[in-house]
């Protein structure tokens, strides 16, 4: 296996959790809700996903447990922000703190345990094709699912009536409400979907990326996923491009560390975080006068009695 091939495969693996979580958050934000708890839902997905796979030996069950954990946590967020009209920023932070704590509690018993990593697709002839064979036909299920998810979200948002309604709710909840759409119900579904995606993204880490669980193993990926949504201008296609770009930054810094260029390893580890800040600045500056492209009702509390 050539070096370039190996790098591309590892970039895809590093990008997949970001893509899964960010794709879910994109739908949430398109409905006008800002859920900053992605990091907490991801780490809960990781802990519960590992637990599920550990007890059953099945990656699929693990992934489902991850989805369930993320969705359950997002339900708490929905109850507060949609049910009680709580400030979404503060509730999202609370969700992250709670998720990190709970995952530590659940995961404590699994530290040091190992599971069989998710199987990779293998097709007799196709996977054997030099270079592209392994990249296209030799990934695990999460990778294929994440790509399908982004396509499905694009199709949903731009090609279905339900997607149009969801975008309308995100852009003007008062108008959508006046037209008779159940704003809070739509947002609840979006938040649950986002929670499930974040949980799956988190579950990918112990189920496919490294076959064990470490507390805090998401290491800020939830926050990077949030930044990716801003970077993407809330467009699914650009989101995928951004996720793979960030995966590439993560992997390149690992390779640079391995080569030992004399650069402190901490600087290289800081690169994805610094890149996030720089990208946010550049993208915000580029938009500048063009006005915000964010959903107009993003983060605004809605109480349907006005």
């Amino acid at each position: 296996m050539g070096l370039l091939e190996a790098i591309i495969i590892s970039v895809i693996a590093a990008s997949t959790p970001l893509l899964l979580a960010a794709a879910g958050e994109l739908v949430v934000e398109r409905s006008g809700v800002l859920n900053l708890g992605t990091e907490g839902m991801m780490i809960m997905g990781a802990a519960c996903g590992f637990a599920g796979a550990y007890f059953t030996g099945s990656t699929l069950v693990g992934a489902l447990c991850g989805i369930a954990a993320g969705a359950a946590l997002s339900l708490v967020f929905a109850a507060l922000t949609l049910g009680l009209a709580v400030n979404q920023v503060a509730a999202g932070l609370a969700l992250t703190i709670l998720g990190i704590g709970l995952s530590g509690l659940i995961g404590a018993g699994f530290v040091g345990e190992k599971i069989t990593p998710a199987p990779h697709l293998y097709l007799p002839v196709l996977t054997g094709i030099p270079f592209i064979g392994k990249i296209l036909f030799g990934q695990d299920g999460f990778v294929y699912f994440s790509v399908a998810l982004v396509v499905a979200i694009w199709w949903f948002l731009y090609r279905t009536r339900a997607g149009l309604i969801l975008r309308a709710v995100g852009d003007s909840h008062t108008s959508a409400h006046a037209l008779g759409y159940p704003v809070l119900k739509i947002r609840l579904l979006a938040v649950l979907f986002g929670g499930g995606c974040a949980g799956l993204g988190g579950a990918f880490l112990p189920l496919a990326y490294t076959p064990f669980f470490i507390p805090g193993m998401t290491a800020g990926r939830g926050w990077i996923a949030l930044a990716l949504v801003v970077f993407s201008s809330w467009l699914p296609g650009r989101l995928a491009a951004g996720a793979y770009l960030f995966g590439a930054v993560t992997i390149l810094q690992l390779h640079a560390q391995a080569f030992g260029l004399g650069i402190p390893s901490q600087l290289m580890t800081a690169l994805p975080y610094l890149a996030t800040v720089i990208v946010l600045v550049l993208i915000s500056r580029a938009r500048g006068s063009a006005g915000s492209v964010a959903p107009a009702s993003l983060g605004v509390v809605f109480v349907p009695d006005r």
């Binding site: 009209a85 509730a91 703190i97 709670l98 800040v277 946010l280 915000s284 009695d305």
Partner: protein, 367 residues
């Protein structure tokens, strides 16, 4: 039958006072349930967590030691949150304050530098935290970059900078390769208040910060400006308040306070710069700020309460083998309940017979 939220005609002052207490009561009930699930006696566990630390003068002082950084950081954050500015990177500003102040302690280590070292360290710590906070602030006002994400990303960067320094250039040559600086000299150390215990002068600094914040918010134009920009941005624009300058101001103050807390922690109870100087003070302070209703005196009380959970959590881990992570769960649940109960200040929950009719009535403004 359906539960709906309805805006109150005016803020309920009764609930405004009751809400933090209500939130704590709900949290304790939830925690009891969690203890039971973990197979521990809930009453015993609650006792170890919340009462036992109060029965011993040593742990009482430890609570004050832990509350010191929490209160200082939370006061700064409350100014940000009142102005609707979302600095959530106080953890990073805390670390950079510790790093910048420690620089002087490291270079003067073993020399006969005079008692000027500590005051200069404190100033450097505050400046370091403020400068680190300037990055997200400037990115926001100049380029419109979201301060929530940038300030948080910089936490990881600050952590890595400290890690590099204590493993590389600042590592104690006599430290058996442990990632830590040499112990600070006495002139670079915050003195303790009493002969015994670890309570130090930083606790008084925290009290002074609380007093200053009370005066600033209640008695000065700046404090008024912060409140108006946060509560009524349109009115603030008409009044000629510059919201961009206020972003810079609140970030600078909160960064400086977090940085000061960082250097006081390192030069006080810890005594060296090393990884893990903070058990997440910067994040817990967010909870302290909200539990304290963004009010300086409230924050002081809330800071002591959250410090109690740290100490109680450690005690429960030792005596009842309750995992330390439960403290974080507790803090997260507490913040949820605080936010939920705060909602009842502005809204009331009502049971409505037929949801369809009710919502239509509301649309036409007849409800």
């Amino acid at each position: 039958m359906q539960l709906v939220l309805e805006r109150r005609a005016e803020r309920s002052t009764k609930i405004a006072i009751l809400s933090p207490l209500l939130a704590i009561a709900f949290t304790l009930a939830t925690m009891s349930l969690l203890f039971a699930i973990l197979g521990k006696n809930p009453i015993m566990a609650l006792y170890v967590y919340f009462i036992e630390p109060l029965t011993d003068s040593f742990t009482l002082m430890e609570i004050a030691v832990k509350a010191t950084p929490l209160v200082m950081i939370a006061i700064g954050l409350s100014l940000c949150y009142l102005a609707n500015v979302w600095n959530i990177g106080a953890e990073g500003q805390f670390i950079m304050g510790a790093v910048c102040g420690s620089y002087l302690a490291v270079v003067t280590n073993g020399t006969d530098a005079g008692p000027w070292v500590l005051p200069v360290m404190l100033v450097m710590g505050a400046l370091g935290g403020a400068l680190w906070a300037m990055i997200p602030a400037i990115c926001k006002v100049r380029y419109g970059a979201n301060e929530i994400l940038t300030s948080l990303m910089l936490v990881y960067v600050a952590d890595l900078i400290m890690d590099y320094l204590v493993r590389g250039p600042w590592r104690d040559p006599q430290g058996m390769n442990f990632p830590t600086t040499a112990s600070f000299d006495p002139v670079a150390t915050v003195p303790t208040l009493f002969e015994t215990g670890r309570i130090h002068w930083g606790a008084l600094v925290a009290l002074i910060v609380v007093a200053l914040a009370t005066v600033m918010l209640g008695r000065t134009i700046k404090g008024f400006e912060i409140r108006v920009v946060g509560a009524a941005p349109r009115a603030a624009r008409f009044a000629g308040f510059n919201s961009k300058r206020l972003v810079i101001f609140t970030f600078a103050v909160s960064g400086a306070l977090a940085g000061l807390a960082g250097i006081i922690e390192v030069a006080g109870p810890v005594g060296v710069l090393q990884p893990g100087i903070s058990p997440g003070y910067g994040f817990t302070a967010i909870i302290v700020a909200f539990l304290g209703r963004l009010n300086p005196v409230g924050i002081l009380i809330a800071g002591l309460f959250l410090a109690l959970t740290f100490i109680g959590g450690e005690g429960a881990q030792i005596s009842m083998k309750i995992p330390l992570d439960l403290t974080k769960v507790f803090q997260g649940i507490l913040l949820f309940y605080v936010l939920a109960c705060d909602s009842l200040i502005l809204y009331r929950i009502r049971l409505i017979a037929s949801p369809k009719k009710a919502s239509q009535g509301n649309v036409h403004g007849t409800a």
